[in-house]
Symmetry: C2
Subunit: 551 residues, 2 copies
């Protein structure tokens, strides 16, 4: 048996989200996580982005399973799409599978072979054995993975922080990591999300302490928003509300789902009578209520965004309300969050939103924790994962600072094929990967050319020309129709479209009377004539489409 | 004479940028600043936004002048547009007018009556006397204004921080402010940009100290980017470079312009031979060079963004280069900045970009400075200016904390008419204001309806239908042409467009043979038919435009 293993990230390296790492030996392939990403600014009309798993589809026969580290969308969200092509067993902890199952119930018709594991279990994939170990993160029941392979032991941290006082009392399993380090670790694959943040990430408990102080002073209604999946934080909100004799009402689809799953599975505990139904909101005075709402990212259709625009059926924001934004904006969402905060103030609420206010802490390790992970495991090779390119580089610098030789640090991007053996590590090639975009109607139907056209459309709009010509003489049979969308709605704009019509007529009038030219040629000529006119007159470059009909 | 004054912000309240405050008495009107704003995410194709000054145009006859507080774009950038309609004298300090003049040279054809003042001068506008006083900010020669009006003394801070060790040695004039406070201040209008930041903003000197430490260790070429207008920071870069025996080369149009103006006017000093021309870059070893570049906001066409894509004519980024991002991203620019940083790393450079690295400090006051300003001036009324809505509210809370009665704090938005007299303050109405959008070709030609259409276009693209019907029978004379842009470029998309053509034909075939119906009616019917088909089949909602020609 070859003492060699290959690692192929199909997502999560050099970008945020859609995490998926392929691990393969000569005989077996497994995937770690199967996440989605949210669209970037330059992907209008796109709802989400999933990894390109062509590589896994080609290896269907030797793919033994998908192992999940935790239940966040960027680690489990692509399952409904990927399982359509490769329905292999899916492994995870109870809560992770509980959350994944709900996602699949919404979007997936087939049967899924879910297999629950607990930290310490050994899952046998032939030439690879996987042992999950406990890590702390911003969703309960998260794990990292110890993989025993023919080349040696590989540790994949999943997403993690080293919270010394986690809300559920289960810290990252330092002892198991130390033992793995003692036994020898071939490679460490570690979460780079916050590799550029100095120091330690504060414990989730800090948020509970802040909430306690804030609740102490609050006189009116309290409305809190956070990431729907942050079960430890939801637990703290319930606990603090109970201590201050307040009821908690959960509002917003995704948060209702998570609370339902976590309560049913025992990951969330609420004293009897603490949780109340939205329909009972009117029964309690404002001073006795906490509303736990979705919308921490300012999503326009979320419960909180609707409240901020006085557009929510059940909750009307008013003076005396205190809104707590217990989340920081994910990069790209800053403007949406600011708008919601501004509008909440306009409604008369007070809002706690500053990062300094300690109502949010991250779920990812800062630099001191990342170095601790490196020192506990003392890997021969280091592969930074989960992060944009700068985070991978910063993480690599931390690894070198802890003693990993620079030549043993491997930085790649999605599709990079890393080959590791006890003697040697190298990048041996690249697998083609691309973003698969999902929108309202389909998966992968919108590609870069369409997005590029949309960019032009949104910058300057479009002009549509329609001409009718004689199929025999090629002469124009009526004045061309010139319409526009998203272009200019001014007198000058109208005049310009009329002028375009005249120029097109002149163009046809000047054609030699030798019968009809090729339709596509004429359409291009007309479009280009209009493009030039508009560019000269306005500097704008709208998309111009011409239809030529013959009768 | 009525002891009353009116304040009407035409920009800068409840938003970032395009600052313009109107101050008027019974007989005289003046404007403070005349800035532009950069477009928000939902304004595709727009280059900049300027204030709606219809109110000033109506009062042309009594408008005595525009007084500038400093030379930043959001305070002077709208001058070329506004002066076309109201060519009144423009007042400012030497550097402020120097920067404004360059902007006008590029965009304005007429003569401008520039009037230089210095801190301590008194400018007489009839019933209003204006006395500028020194403030520290991230551009040199900034001032605030003390306005003597029939109602009492009004202080407008401009943009400011209380830098105790400014690079040019000229701190904010505490003594003048204290004296004004002793004499009695009717109202304070104060910069709210960072009213949600606790503590003190660090001194600009901190950046110089950091640069000194970084330069000490750097072995290769150093590339620094910052805001082009930050003269004090450019001074520090030149000073530190000189101390470390490095030459400085300025690259990028806007920075070259500012350096040129500031050097010529004596606001920037460079030891002989320190500044070198880009064409001489090849003459010096990398270890002796500093490149000072535009692109701190990741602007795609900026010098640094081009370098990061290996697309700059003069500078090729390579291993050994150190890039210093001496600026924080303006809200909304985070993603662009991240992309540039990632690409610089991909080119092999090391990049210093973290906020923790102290290579950037803000030019605006934090909470302790704002409270100090309130306590120095002890105003009867307080009007927070320059900030989004949440900043105005936070600033109002600070004012109340320092003892201003809540009823004496006035929070408004653009267009609000504040009326102040020694006895009374109130909001007495609203002036209509809107965003005037400027794009490649014109001012104010693109409004909200066009932007809304562009939003639809960018989300789902457009479909164009063109039909030819008989002017007598109303029958379709050829198969309708159905084309699209930004919609779907797949087999399914093509099939859907073909299906739409068939449905349109069926629609016409089913019409009663009673001659031609009204064209607009038919066009709407056809568009709506296609819209429904596409929505049912794909869930998408492209813009559908139909042209019906008759022959």
């Amino acid at each position: 048996m070859t003492r060699q293993v290959r690692l192929i990230p199909l997502g999560g390296l050099g970008e945020i989200g859609k995490n998926l790492m392929v691990v393969e030996t000569q005989s077996d392939t497994i995937a770690i996580d199967c996440g989605l990403a949210f669209p970037e600014d330059d992907m209008p009309g796109i709802d989400l982005v999933i990894p390109d798993v062509s590589y896994l589809i080609e290896r269907k026969d030797r793919l033994r399973g998908i192992v999940l580290t935790h239940g966040h969308e960027d680690h489990v969200g692509a399952l409904p799409f990927v399982l359509k092509d490769i329905n292999v067993p899916v492994y995870g902890t109870r809560l992770t599978l509980g959350l994944a199952r709900r996602k699949l119930d919404e979007n997936f018709e087939g049967e899924v072979d879910f297999r629950v594991f607990e930290p310490g279990d050994i899952i046998d994939f032939g030439s690879i054995q996987v042992e999950p170990f406990r890590v702390t993160h911003s969703v309960s029941d998260s794990v990292g993975l110890i993989l025993r392979t023919p080349a040696g032991t590989i540790i994949h941290t999943g997403d993690f922080k080293l919270d010394q006082t986690p809300v559920d009392g289960e810290p990252t399993d330092y002892s198991r990591l130390a033992r793995a380090g003692d036994e020898g670790v071939l490679a460490l694959l570690s979460d780079s999300t916050h590799a550029d943040r100095p120091g330690f990430t504060p414990s989730e408990r800090v948020v509970g302490e802040t909430l306690d102080r804030v609740f102490q002073k609050a006189k009116g209604r309290i409305i809190i928003t956070t990431f729907a999946s942050n079960v430890p934080r939801i637990q703290q909100v319930i606990d603090v509300a109970h201590q201050h004799n307040r009821k908690v009402c959960v509002i917003g689809r995704s948060m209702e789902m998570v609370v339902d799953v976590a309560l049913n599975m025992g990951y969330l505990r609420a004293p009897l009578g603490t949780l109340v139904d939205p329909s009972d909101l009117g029964k309690y005075p404002h001073s006795k209520m906490v509303i736990l709402s979705t919308g921490s990212q300012g999503e326009p259709l979320s419960a909180l965004a609707r409240m901020s625009c006085r557009d929510h059926r059940k909750v009307e924001i008013m003076e005396g309300d205190l809104v707590i934004m217990a989340a920081s904006p994910v990069p790209g969402n800053e403007t949406m969050v600011s708008r919601v905060v501004d509008n909440l103030f306009r409604c008369g609420a007070d809002v706690i939103y500053e990062p300094e206010s300690e109502v949010h802490v991250s779920g990812h390790s800062s630099q001191e924790e990342l170095k601790m992970m490196l020192n506990l495991t003392r890997p021969r090779y280091f592969v930074p994962v989960h992060g944009e390119y700068r985070h991978l580089i910063k993480h690599a610098q931390l690894a070198v600072a802890t003693g990993v030789p620079p030549s043993n640090v491997l930085i790649g991007e999605n599709g990079t094929i890393f080959s590791l053996s006890p003697e040697h590590c190298e990048i041996i090639g690249v697998v083609q990967t691309k973003n698969i975009m999902v929108d309202s109607s389909g998966v992968g139907e919108i590609g870069d050319p369409v997005l590029k056209e949309r960019k032009y459309l949104s910058d300057s709009g479009a002009i549509f020309v329609s001409c009718v010509v004689s199929s025999t003489s090629g002469a124009l049979l009526s004045m061309p129709s010139v319409k526009s969308a998203g272009f200019m709605k001014s007198v000058r704009g109208e005049a310009l479209l009329a002028e375009a019509g005249k120029r097109i007529k002149e163009y046809f009038d000047a054609l030699p009377p030798e019968g009809l030219l090729r339709r596509e040629f004429l359409e291009e000529e007309v479009a280009s004539l209009v493009q030039k006119l508009v560019r000269n007159e306005t500097g704008r470059r709208p998309v111009v489409v011409c239809s030529l009909s013959t009768v």
